[in-house]
């Protein structure tokens, strides 16, 4: 097989990889914010429960979580696994795992906003919802950008974990081609792909950071 042929095959997984990546980003961030609220809730049982879940999600391998999401319904309820479930389980596993990480990032971001911001908003008569959406949230976004960037870069590489569910993204295919052709080249091609992907992510995040640099 030619190099070009191998590259074509490996990169045919690009769409699948991008699908995992963007789905996870889109679902895990709002979910993470929600989880952060749960974690900061003054209602103790809720915050304890959320804390427990975060701890489990961050303390066990994502690969294991993916397998549990995928096979869980079968082992727990004897459900027949449909063909679409592979992708659903993958995105579910990624989104929920990353939500746990984002939740902790958002929480520390929110808690780093000086109390004086809340007090100024309070005296000016802003409602709780207005205070969050207008005053706290925008400042939080700026503060969490560096750790969020780290997380997103990790996510790009983590999408390769979908190979455990044999979901045909870039890494899964690269591994298959490498085995079939007994050559390491497809793995290098995949490596190059992830590197370029992250290069773009880095660039985009730097642009966003720049945009938010109009204030300190």
């Amino acid at each position: 097989m030619t190099l070009w042929g191998m590259a074509q095959q490996v990169l045919s997984g690009t769409g699948a990889t991008l699908l995992i990546f963007f789905s996870t980003v889109i679902f895990s961030m709002p979910l993470g914010l929600l989880v952060a609220f749960g974690r900061m809730s003054k209602f103790r049982p809720l915050s304890a429960l959320v804390k427990g879940f975060i701890s489990i999600l961050r303390g066990t391998p994502l690969m294991l979580q993916l397998i549990v999401w995928f096979y869980g319904p079968y082992y727990l309820f004897g459900t027949q696994l449909s063909s679409g479930w592979r992708l659903t389980a993958t995105i579910l596993g990624f989104s929920i795992n990353y939500a746990a990480y984002f939740a902790e990032i958002f929480r520390s971001g929110i808690q780093s906003i000086p109390l004086g911001q809340y007090e100024a908003a309070n005296v000016l008569g802003y409602s709780k919802a207005q205070t969050f959406t207008k005053i706290i949230f925008p400042q939080m976004c700026k503060r969490v950008l560096p750790p969020v960037t780290n997380e997103v870069i990790t996510l790009v590489k983590d999408t390769s974990l979908a190979f455990v569910l044999a979901y045909s993204e870039v890494f899964t295919i690269a591994k298959q081609v490498a085995a079939a052709q007994t050559t390491i080249v497809p793995l290098f091609i995949a490596g190059g792909f992830y590197y370029v992907f992250n290069f773009v992510v880095d660039f985009v995040m730097a642009k966003i950071e720049q945009k938010m640099n109009y204030y300190r």
Partner: protein, 254 residues
């Protein structure tokens, strides 16, 4: 008319009793200065008055409207809607400004009147520009707080409070976070407001300023009002021993 009336306000943090039976009223157009040593409860009193802190017991009345009253020895606050209305009666200027860093100067001043008081955007903007001009901040409308000096930031904070058209304005050590050469510009602004008969309660360590601008001075210590009255009397000829000690230490420092 009494703009503010606080009766028998008590406040403790855990075991520490910070305000002991404080009563205070402020008349329309009056400027009241509160002085006293660190930890005497001045900020806590302002925070209780501005609803940032809840009193343990006591009565709080703005413009004849009850924000809180004592029932069975406990402070009971009015419902959310009543408090929302009462919040329109006062403004607070903080020691460290607490401007919104992500908003431009103009937006800092305009946002609450527009999104809280639901006033007309254009009108609010026009008034805000006038206020900023009055504060000597013309041309700074589009700057961000981080681009301003401390004194300028505090003047924005004053404009932001005034834009809400409060009946009474509280200041908690408005110059304490500023370099000495910048305190003058803030004191000048407050002086001007006093001349315009703005009702104000000012916690300050600037004794000569308190003496010159205030209609009445209150000396607090240990959560009690020890002495109050005419500023010249209290600051130049204090009657109480504790007031004398405090002022002596003060003039020694200066």
């Amino acid at each position: 008319m009494k703009y503010l009336e606080i009766k028998n306000c008590k406040k403790a943090f855990d075991e520490l009793s910070v305000l002991n039976d404080i009563s205070l009223s402020v008349e329309e157009g009056e400027v009241v200065a509160i002085i006293g040593p660190s930890g005497s409860g001045k900020s806590t009193l302002l925070r209780c008055a501005t609803l940032l802190e809840t009193m343990d017991s006591g009565e709080l009345v703005y413009m004849g409207e009850k924000a809180a009253s004592t029932v069975d020895g406990q402070a009971v606050y009015a419902d959310g809607n009543a408090l929302k209305k009462i919040k329109n009666y006062f403004g607070l200027v903080f020691q460290n400004f607490n401007l919104f860093p992500h908003y431009s100067v103009l937006k800092n001043v305009c946002d609450a009147p527009i999104s809280v008081q639901k006033r007309n955007k254009e009108e609010v903007k026009e008034e805000a520009l006038k206020l900023l001009a009055k504060m000597g901040l013309s041309g700074k409308e589009n700057a961000y707080p981080c681009q301003l000096s401390g004194g300028q930031q505090q003047r924005v904070a004053i404009a932001r409070a005034l834009a809400m058209k409060p009946s009474i304005l509280f200041f908690d050590e408005p110059t304490s976070a500023l370099d000495p050469e910048l305190t003058g510009e803030i004191l000048k602004v407050i002086r001007q407001l006093a001349e315009e008969k703005m009702t104000m309660v000012i916690v300050t360590h600037e004794m000569s300023f308190a003496r010159d601008v205030a209609d009445r001075v209150i000396f607090m210590d240990g959560g009690y009002i020890i002495e109050e009255g005419d500023p010249h009397e209290v600051i130049e000829h204090p009657k109480e021993e504790r007031t004398k000690q405090f002022l002596a230490r003060f003039s020694a420092e200066q």
